[in-house]
Assembly symmetry: C2
Homo-oligomer: 328 residues x 2
Amino acid sequence: MGEPVIGEFELIERYFARCAPGDARVVLGIGDDCALYRPRAGYDLAISTDMLLAGRHFFADTDPEGLGHKSLAVNLSDLAAMGAAPVAFTLGLALPKADPDWLLAFSRGLSQIAAEFSCPLVGGDTTRGPLAISITILGEVPAGAGVRRSGARPGDDIWVSGCLGGAALALRLLEGRARAAPGVLEALLPALLRPHPRVALGLALAPWVSAMIDLSDGLVGDLGHILERSSVGAALDVEHVPGAHALIELEPRMRLECLLAGGDDYELCFTALPGRRPAIEEVADRLDVRLSRIGSIEPGGALRFADWQGQPYRLPDGLDLTGFDHFG
Amino acid sequence: MGEPVIGEFELIERYFARCAPGDARVVLGIGDDCALYRPRAGYDLAISTDMLLAGRHFFADTDPEGLGHKSLAVNLSDLAAMGAAPVAFTLGLALPKADPDWLLAFSRGLSQIAAEFSCPLVGGDTTRGPLAISITILGEVPAGAGVRRSGARPGDDIWVSGCLGGAALALRLLEGRARAAPGVLEALLPALLRPHPRVALGLALAPWVSAMIDLSDGLVGDLGHILERSSVGAALDVEHVPGAHALIELEPRMRLECLLAGGDDYELCFTALPGRRPAIEEVADRLDVRLSRIGSIEPGGALRFADWQGQPYRLPDGLDLTGFDHFG
């Protein structure tokens, strides 16, 4: 057959045991019918699932170490948006073949971010098939304190962390849909390939915010989820949305698409009462994270675009601001 | 494009909302960054993940309603083997296209078994790709009482529930690798397509057993996991392993392969002190489940085959008893 013979159980043992750093509350880790975890009294469990497919969410030849990192990062980002702390994760992995080099690199990337965020692998399933990665993550949040998408109210500020559009521009450069000066792609690649989930930020913000979401599909689409769930509208101050530096070189249409609908930012977008500004600015200072006010929640259900004076912002014709929808 | 246009969020809303029956401890269900679940004090959380791929675990043209059923059934079976009660599950679903008929049938099968076992869908992710189903299930078990594979001790009885080999024979009939009288396939198909997870049995047995596993890859392979994890050997009384009636018609080699290594049985195999026999037989009577003693645990690490008098059982030459291994 020309391919290394390795059993499913040996595969898990050899490559993924190291993704399971010790945690006293993990009563039983990988290797049994189920893992066992002892929840902490007074906490709710936050649960999220993401499925990543080759050719859809990443290139089939993507660096496997980065892929291991990103697979868990996108799930950690969901916990961050809830204000939850990571607890553990499970991995469903379909592989075309058991390639030792690929597995070694993938599990290295996965184990590094698992260790960094104290989020051990507690179970999983491997099978042969088109490359697919399905991770379910568990987190914990003080009972009743999980931050939802549905809490935004008219008058709330809209905030966003970090700078947007860098990952989207990197993707466009990789795909040849945009051009940039030498060095730009290299500088942007980490944003696309190794996003850093805002877990500490989510935890610090949770007491002060009314709604929160992580930006995976683009600002307009993801903010739209908050608006829909909260039954409110918003004025988005386009000129205050912080963009990655490299966006400045782009023509306006592509710049705004990357900025407003780029996807893969994994920053946090949240709403809060104006009275929370000092607390939120203190969090920004303490964690050394840029937090920008980019608009305000309004009655109704519409999202309108405004300039810094609140006047209508005229978007270029033909702008595509739809978030990434897998079946749209 | 000729295919129905349906968004990812509309897809979840339309087809999978009904998989989420009410449960007061599900603080927040599908539709946010995470689901929120309030664990019950004094309980450990059991977690298991299974990934099912078209062409590997089921035929691509499998009846979608049965597939919805089986996808959750195999996960419920993992909980059963731990002695855990179902709590909730998440669904990762990759689909070649958003076919309304397929989705309607799949979600109907899934919602029926979810309701039957009070196990609501709390989150998930859908994406376009080769058909793949990844379910992570959560269950609860009194703290410290989760039944592991590692507790078997020399002198323990080995037990199995139900009758084995029916699903394996059905698969061989479907694939044309075996022949049977008219009506046999129809009678066996439910075992293959709609396995009934032994959740109530697992809960009832948990106080009395030393180790337990569910039979997904075949008796010999799965019992082997108990032996390996427990660092023990066993004598398997081949003549007392209860087989599905239709196996009698098969030639010996195929009969024994179906019986001992068939896979897809989703029965429970467990070990217990001989002093537990009355309690275990009471469980069998109360739940109206056949429980058979099929051998005993021994020191060492070997699995040997015995007849009902304890003498070596001579297996036919060329018998393949390896459990299904996705990378073997």
